[in-house]
């Protein structure tokens, strides 16, 4: 992997630090008029998600991290691994529960997800921003109540719990935003 000088640091660049892959979130050039220049960077650990600050001496280098985002189709969960397939090469990979993490409740078979690979192994899984899931549990719907603005919890296939309007029933399919877990609309009946 190439190494990068602080001159090449920018948002999104993936670098190795203390054995872990990181993404640069913010790069600030700090220099007293008559003194040593530094780059203070805010970086996200791509394994833990933790954000830390790190100071580099300007001109120093960091090793690049072999981290790529790949669009992959979610196939199935065998109880231990969540399996994804590259839509063009048909190559399949399995991700464990720690890797799938918060994404697992949003995954639906056939959906295209963003799988981040580090040295070819899955690091994180990002579900599509919007997905359509079926309600498996909720209080009975109040027919016709589309105006009062009240809400109630509903459990979706996959296990996510979202706040939905009162008229939603078990068996309804909902469009939801996976980034914040918000209900968007009722999807067309299948």
């Amino acid at each position: 992997m190439a190494s990068y000088s602080t001159n090449e640091f920018k948002r999104g660049l993936k670098i190795m630090l203390d054995g872990d892959p990181y993404a640069i979130i913010e790069n600030e050039f700090v220099k007293p008029g008559k003194g040593q220049a530094f780059n203070r960077v805010k970086i996200r650990n791509l394994k833990s998600g933790r954000v830390i600050e790190r100071t580099f001496k300007s001109g120093d280098t960091a090793e690049g991290a072999d981290v790529v985002d790949v669009e992959m189709q979610y196939l199935y969960n065998d109880g231990e691994q969540w399996h994804f397939m590259h839509p063009e090469t048909f190559e399949q990979i399995g991700a464990d529960e720690k890797t799938v993490a918060d994404a697992k409740v949003w995954l639906k078979e056939q959906d295209i997800c963003t799988v981040t690979l580090w040295n070819g192994a899955p690091l994180t899984v990002l579900p599509p921003n919007h997905t359509i899931l079926k309600v498996v549990e909720t209080e009975p719907g109040i027919r016709g109540d589309t105006a009062t603005g009240g809400s109630k919890p509903a459990t979706l296939e996959g296990g996510a719990v979202v706040q939905v309007p009162l008229f939603i029933n078990i068996g309804d399919t909902l469009k939801v935003d996976t980034r914040n877990g918000e209900y968007l609309s009722r999807a067309a009946k299948e």
């Binding site: 001159n7 790069n27 600030e28 050039f29 700090v30 220099k31 007293p32 008029g33 008559k34 003194g35 040593q36 220049a37 530094f38 203070r40 830390i52 600050e53 790190r54 100071t55 580099f56 001496k57 300007s58 120093d60």
Partner: protein, 326 residues
Amino acid sequence: MSDPHDWRPSAPLSALRARAQILATIRAFFAERAVLEVETPYLSSAGTTDPHIDSFELRFQGPGPVADHPLWLHTSPEFPMKRLLAAGSGPIYQLGRVFRQGEVGRRHNPEFTLLEWYRPGWDHHQLMDEVEALVQRVLGLASTAAERLSYAQAFQRHLGIDPHYSDSETLQQIAIERDPGVAGLQLERDGWLDLLLTHYIEPHLGVGRPTLLMDYPPSQAALARIRPGEPPVAERFELYIDGLELANGFHELGDAGEQAARFRAEQAARRAAAQPEVAADQRLLAALAAGLPPCAGVALGVDRLVMVALGASSLAEVVAFPLERA
């Protein structure tokens, strides 16, 4: 690379109007005080040897004796302004662009507007009074006096250490205690001082009222006189407002031999770090040898002053076309 959709200025026109007003205020301030406006070359056959400042190098294609010799865009107008002082100009100021290689960020742009002025017969304390008066005028501050803080006091207050007597290992240890991530950095003693200053002290300087930081370690004298004592200190000062470094001033070194020695030391440091060589200014040395009147001088970053005046957090908010749009 260059995106034509970026043709608009990054700064709002209201900021550019405020900027024009500030430039007019600065010129009025110096006209009232009978300080002469001067202009010196942007392009010169000598540059700065300061290892922490890199220059843009160009070539003049002729004709004439300068043809095919390197020329440098000035990083400050200091040397030719001192030649004017030695020639008897009296108090002078200059408002213009200076250029610094490799400096870009929220608070840096490789070309920026510098206000530099010199006061023959003054020391740095008198000049600090005038810096305060100018800043008060431009920012419309009430007459809250600036805080004057020595470099040693600042380190004592914010880090509990003496910057003059702490060795490199102690400074490194203090830095690592605050951020273990810096343990791998290879820095000289002044580098650790700069790290501690920029990370842990600067953010507290000039909060509530301007801070004038002064009496720097002799190793950071740049072009200032060194006042003997225990410890000896450089008669250098910096102005900070809201954590932002705005100006750097000196009780100017006038000794040609000492100046030549500093040039040599800086050139040696540049060679050791494999940095590009820059010709030292022999005409400055000749002017010093002929006699620079005792004086104090200061350079103030005008773009940053406009940032403070407008409460902006980046240069892009006060400069029409920063590097990305230039």
